[in-house]
């Protein structure tokens, strides 16, 4: 699923980037658009046609031979009662065909599993492709009722579904869906792809010092850096906070407790001012994911009665001070998260913002092991220009639309100020924790330069500044939750760059390509490639990072054959490093772990792999092939190849059983 997301994303980005070229006038007469596609959308399990599905045709510009429709035209067809659709007047080229239908996971031509990879459909000039089949897999569902200790249904409460999946070589719980209970307390996840799920109600408490709430309510002047910083911290916690006197917040002993609209209304506090909460509950009745029931859902399966009975408990307060290198740090956001490696994203239990003297109080913390996380990124060096807002009133509706500034000057320069961060472990028993000191440290940053190897014209300064040099967590833990800001650096006209300071951890560097025929060759630091091998920034800044672009991409191509020697149009060709050290912690978008579907004639083609030693294999089923155990099995049957700089290699393959 992750891989699919990444592929589609790339297609979209490229299509936007290429549009000026696509519409550039050409000396040759335009080719005649006479190809057509006649196809069917079918239920993958029963083979029955699906009426009313919407099929979308996109030019697959990710492929070099792209001549398909431009990005401004994305024709869509709704299937008839027999599930059929027709696209006409097409140029030759490679196309992506996707289909959607309520109750089904989005399908695509070439997919063999709901989370599998699509394949391009190639059309010759004037070709008529008949019986192009797009399978759709029915979603499964999980439904239940949420009640409180009195048996009263809880309304408007969020329940979350986590799928157990592999990410960067680790099994993780990845949040795939959330659902709100209706007026009967009923929730329903209606779009679950087949897999194993954990379902949970997650407790979340936000509380703020009274003066912080008041400060966020008055308008912030554009030049008021402290007010703007507080706005950013509030936004990091999910936006504006409610005030007492509204239904969204109440005063609790010196702090303002938020009444979250997607959480149950908490029980009233006792005379003692104790805080009662509904603690996190994993179905059926576990406080942590380790003892949760794994619910396995097949395509089309409807699981009911996954009910929650929430019982309030008296929760503790965790209070203390955030101290930076220059003393207490005011108005910085704190997140108390579960100390668990099970989740892709941090599971927040309580959040707050420090007061004027760096003091904080986190409300509603049940007994357990936690980590307090703080990340304070430096604010922008110059305030962003204010876009001109246009207010459009239609009847009684008002819509604001911002007029984009005429030239986007590129991303703002990376400030010299440090990123401050903390990760402080906290153990909470059944009593308040006070006097905690959360020390902020300076995050190390990556500095270096960008180089170009090749004869092509180098990008100009305007293009250079749009190169994003993006640190990515090697363990593929969520970028958003890991940073709460974009830590990317951008080369200046001379090619020099620096990233923001980063919280301690292992990182991989990623870049986007500048266009103009340049592709990434390597990102090295002291002789090792940190686009594959994570680098630890815990010991401060890392200098001399060299990002090298080349204009000579490697190319790997060939044919996949079935056991009887015929071309295999249904294989998935997977490439992975020979060194098993690269089978985990390869981030969310690995460079050396790639897969591609074979085309109708059994051919495959992959370009831009970094030079190195690889295994390449064609497999039937594209299950979770990135699972290190599967890779170990595949390594035994795969073909070893070595790609050197700019090399084109042909490797024919025999399809094997493959993943699971």
């Amino acid at each position: 699923m992750l891989a699919v997301g990444a592929v589609l994303c790339t297609v979209a980005l490229l299509s936007a980037a290429q549009s000026p070229q696509a519409s550039a006038p050409s000396n040759q007469p335009p080719p005649e658009a006479t190809a057509l596609i006649l196809g069917r959308v079918v239920d993958a399990s029963s083979g029955r046609p699906i009426a009313g599905a919407i099929v979308t045709l996109r030019g697959s510009v990710a492929l070099p031979e792209f001549t398909g429709p431009g990005p401004t035209s994305t024709p869509r067809a709704m299937t008839n009662a027999s599930g059929q659709f027709v696209f006409r007047k097409l140029l030759n080229g490679a196309f992506m065909l996707t289909a959607s239908k309520p109750g089904y996971a989005d399908g695509a031509y070439g997919k063999r599993r709901p989370e599998g990879s699509p394949a391009p459909l190639k059309l010759e000039p004037g070709e008529r492709a008949g019986d192009v089949v797009i399978p759709l897999w029915r979603y499964g569902s999980i439904a239940g009722t949420v009640t409180d200790e009195a048996g009263e249904p809880l309304i408007g409460v969020s329940v979350r579904a986590f799928q157990s999946r592999y990410a960067a070589g680790h099994r993780r719980l990845i949040e795939t869906d959330f659902a709100s209970t209706d007026d009967r307390g009923i929730y329903r996840f209606d779009s679950l792809i087949p897999g194993s799920y954990v379902v949970a109600f997650v407790s979340h408490e936000a509380s703020l010092p009274t003066q912080v709430v008041e400060a966020t309510r008055s308008p912030a002047a554009p030049g008021d850096a402290a007010a703007q910083a507080l706005r950013r911290e509030t936004a990091a916690l999910g936006g504006p906070m409610g005030s007492p006197g509204s239904p969204f917040a109440m005063q609790v002993g010196g702090v303002v407790r938020q009444i979250n609209f997607s959480a149950p209304v908490p029980p009233p506090g006792a005379e003692t001012g104790a805080t009662f909460i509904y603690p996190t509950l994993f179905y059926p009745a576990a406080p942590s994911a380790a003892r949760a029931a794994l619910i396995t859902i097949a395509s089309g399966q409807e699981r009911e009665n996954v009910d929650f009975s929430l019982q309030p408990i008296r929760a503790s307060r965790v209070s203390g001070t955030v101290v930076g290198p220059d003393g207490p740090v005011a108005n910085v956001a704190l997140r108390l998260v579960q100390a668990s490696g099970d989740f892709q994203n941090d599971l927040e239990t309580a959040v707050t913002i420090t007061g004027a003297a760096g003091e904080f109080t986190l409300l509603g913390v049940p007994a357990g092991q936690y980590v307090i996380k703080v990340v304070r990124a430096p604010g922008p060096t110059t305030p962003a220009p204010q876009p001109q807002m246009t207010q459009i009133q239609v009847g009684n509706s008002t819509v604001f639309s911002s007029s984009a500034p005429a030239s986007i000057p590129g991303p703002p320069p990376v400030p010299d100020d440090p990123t401050l961060f903390a990760e402080t472990a906290v153990s909470v028993a059944d009593a308040d924790v006070s006097g905690l000191v959360v020390p902020l440290q300076r995050g190390g940053r990556l500095t270096g330069r960008v180089e170009f190897e090749g004869a092509r014209e180098r990008p100009d300064a305007k293009t250079m500044v749009r190169i994003f040099i993006m640190p990515e967590r090697a363990d593929a833990l969520s970028g958003v939750n890991a940073f709460l800001f974009n830590p990317s650096g951008h080369p200046d006209g001379s090619g020099a760059f620096k990233t923001y300071g980063l919280p301690a951890g292992k990182y991989l560097l990623r870049v986007n390509v500048p266009g103009g025929g340049w592709i990434l060759k390597s990102i090295t630091n002291e002789g090792r490639d940190i686009s594959d091998t994570p680098i630890d920034v815990k010991n401060g800044d890392v200098a001399n990072v060299v990002v090298t672009f080349t204009d000579r991409p490697t190319k790997l191509e060939g044919m996949a054959h079935t056991a009887d020697g015929s071309a295999d149009p249904d294989a998935l060709v997977v490439v992975f490093p020979q060194d098993s050290g690269g089978w985990t912690d390869f981030g969310a978008s690995p460079r050396r772990m790639r897969s591609v579907r074979t085309q109708k004639n059994g051919a495959y083609s992959l370009s831009g792999l970094p030079p190195g030693d690889y295994y390449v294999a064609a497999i039937k089923d594209e299950g979770q092939w990135q699972d290190p155990q599967v890779l170990e099995e595949l390594a035994r049957v795969a073909s070893p190849i070595r790609l050197s700089d700019g090399e084109s290699k042909t490797q024919d393959l025999k399809t094997t059983g493959g993943g699971r």
């Binding site: 009313g52 027709v86 007026d183």
Partner: protein, 583 residues
């Protein structure tokens, strides 16, 4: 509506000026009064509502929030003397203010003296439910459709009743929608198509039998035989009202009682033929503009407020061309805007905005070849002044806005606000011609006394802007005027709505700052805490629907029995009212 507003004969009691009560702004937030009470269901017999959220508020003071216990009880202690309003809400139930006659109506405030212990009971109706199934003309579940229930009400910026959205829901994969927590009342249900705000190209065609047959023939015949072309007509979804009509006038109202679940509100959406709207945008130099944005806005009077569904945005290609697809028949406003680069920074002038606007009528055929030539908008330049003794506000934290004043069902387009510079000057650019009010949100204790353009106060009379303006003046004052009093009808605790409206009928342009209403408090007193100085009429009515007071016809009916009253700047006037006879 007027039937509910029984006019009351008012006997004037001599107004007696009192010394302005000096309220210490820094008074401690704790006091000695309290309010305790219960939240109950409005059923027979009432039952306690636990976990209801109760809020208490008073003017110029931070409010408090409490949660009811298992017996529905709540309490607010340590309250300073003042006039308090109470409200209660509970999910699945309808929020109510204390003393309100229905949901959405103003409550009665509770005056508290030092040491006073008041009690209050709030009763909430259970919310109603409307649920049903949406299918398309082929019996399939349509994609991306949302359902909204709407009701007629006075809009905040209008003096007439309109169909306004009350609540909404998505449609699940079975086509089911469910909208709950609705106040009892009369509703219209409408289904809307996908939100296309950000997408420019949404071509969708239905697959016809002849299309499939001809394609099959072409596939079998091989690449050398010519293909018979079949037109693939684009379709889209336009708003449909229950029981299945695109016409608001033919919609069927659904009336629900408190707690009622109305199931089976099923209806079908139709795919209608849609068109492309395409053309070119040129800069003032005739060249394709850089980074201009084109917006197409629905302006069909028979379609109610569609909000974001009524708006589509597009960018231009490098030849300045745009192409909107899937545009349903109707009237539209097409607007192009562009902000050329300029200096930035806190005191830099805002970028000049170029724009162009045309009306577009779509009748089912493609509209092509439109040309929009960008022109510089109008500029409004002015100054913010203060007149008072309080510490002056931070001028560069203030924002000035030009609010378009709606006329009919038209689309109004106005430039967003601008920040005031350190020296109090401001410049609004890219202003399209129209009627405007110049507005500013003043921080306490400052109030906007006037916002003049060419000497005319736009807050009272919207100003027609046809050319650039350089004499706008916004004046802030810290002298607040107040009007309060007691209504006596001989029975004690008189319960009326008081309407204060300007004597000058030219100012009856909603939402006018001089049209004010207040509900009498539990002890029969009333208070207008901030009255712009001027000549007014004061009337008491039994009940009034929110927003109705902006309806000139309503005010006209009040005028003959109303009492004239003049408020000076900074005056704290007390005006008691005796009601007799015609009540």
């Amino acid at each position: 509506m007027i039937r509910a507003a029984a006019l009351l004969a008012i006997a004037v009691v001599a107004a007696h000026p009192v010394e302005a009560q000096t309220r210490d702004a820094a008074a401690p937030a704790t006091g000695t009064a309290s309010i305790a009470g219960r939240v109950l269901s409005d059923t027979q017999p009432p039952r306690p509502l636990r976990r209801a959220v109760v809020t208490i508020n008073a003017p110029d003071r931070t409010g408090s929030t409490a949660i009811t216990d298992d017996a529905g009880r709540f309490a607010f202690a340590n309250l300073p003397a003042g006039r308090y309003t109470l409200s209660a809400s509970k999910r699945g139930w309808v929020a109510m203010s204390y003393g309100a006659r229905a949901s959405g109506r103003p409550g009665r405030s509770i005056p508290l003296a030092d040491g006073q212990r008041a009690t209050a009971t709030l009763q909430l109706p259970r919310g109603a439910v409307i649920t049903g199934v949406i299918t398309d003309q082929n019996g399939s579940v349509p994609q991306g459709v949302s359902v909204r229930v709407m009701r007629y009400a006075y809009a905040f910026n209008s003096s007439e009743k309109r169909l306004l959205p009350a609540n909404g829901s998505g449609v699940d994969e079975r086509g089911v929608y469910r909208i709950h927590s609705l106040p009892p009342g009369e509703y219209y249900v409408a289904a809307f198509g996908p939100r296309d705000f950000f997408s420019q190209s949404r071509d969708l065609h239905l697959t016809s039998d002849v299309d499939v047959q001809e394609a099959q023939r072409a596939v079998q015949a091989g690449p050398t035989t010519p293909v018979t072309d079949v037109v693939q007509r684009g379709v889209g979804v336009t708003p449909v009202f229950y029981p299945g009509t695109p016409n608001m006038a033919q919609a069927t109202a659904i009336t629900v009682r408190a707690g009622e679940e109305r199931a089976g509100v099923d209806f079908t959406i139709q795919y209608v033929a849609v068109s492309h709207v395409s053309g070119t945008v040129q800069g003032p130099d005739g060249q394709p503009p850089v980074n201009a944005r084109v917006t197409l806005v629905t302006n069909t009077p028979s379609i109610p407020d569609t909000g974001i569904e009524g708006i589509r945005n597009a960018f231009l290609d490098n030849r300045g061309q745009f192409d909107f697809s899937a545009i349903a028949p109707g009237q539209y406003v097409l607007m192009a805007r562009m902000a050329p680069p300029g200096p930035t920074g806190p005191n830099a002038p805002p970028p000049q905005v170029l724009s162009s606007i045309v009306d577009v009528d779509v009748q089912g055929d493609d509209v092509t070849g439109l040309t929009l030539v960008l022109q510089e908008g109008l500029t409004v330049t002015g100054t913010v002044r203060t007149d008072g003794t309080a510490p002056p506000p931070r001028l560069n934290a203030l924002r000035v806005n030009l609010a378009a004043v709606q006329t009919g069902n038209a689309v109004n387009i106005s430039t967003g606000g601008t920040t005031v510079r350190d020296d109090g000057s401001f410049t609004l650019t890219g202003v399209t011609p129209g009627r405007y009010r110049l507005t500013l949100f003043a921080p306490t204790p400052w109030l906007v006394r006037s916002a003049t353009i060419g000497g005319q106060d736009s807050l009272d009379l919207p100003v027609e802007i046809r050319e650039s303006i350089d004499d706008a003046v916004i004046t802030l004052t810290d002298r607040k005027s107040e009007l309060s009093g007691r209504i006596e009808n001989g029975a004690g605790g008189a319960d009326y709505s008081i309407v204060l409206f300007p004597e000058n009928r030219a100012f009856w342009v909603g939402p006018a700052r001089r049209i004010l209403t207040a509900r009498t408090a539990a002890d029969g007193t009333y208070l207008f805490g901030n009255v712009p100085p001027g000549d007014y009429q004061l009337a008491a009515v039994d009940d009034v629907e929110p927003g109705e007071w902006y309806d000139p016809a309503f005010l006209q009916r009040l005028a003959p029995s109303a009492m004239k009253i003049t408020i000076a700047e900074g005056e704290k006037k007390v005006q008691d009212i005796k009601i007799g006879g015609g009540g």
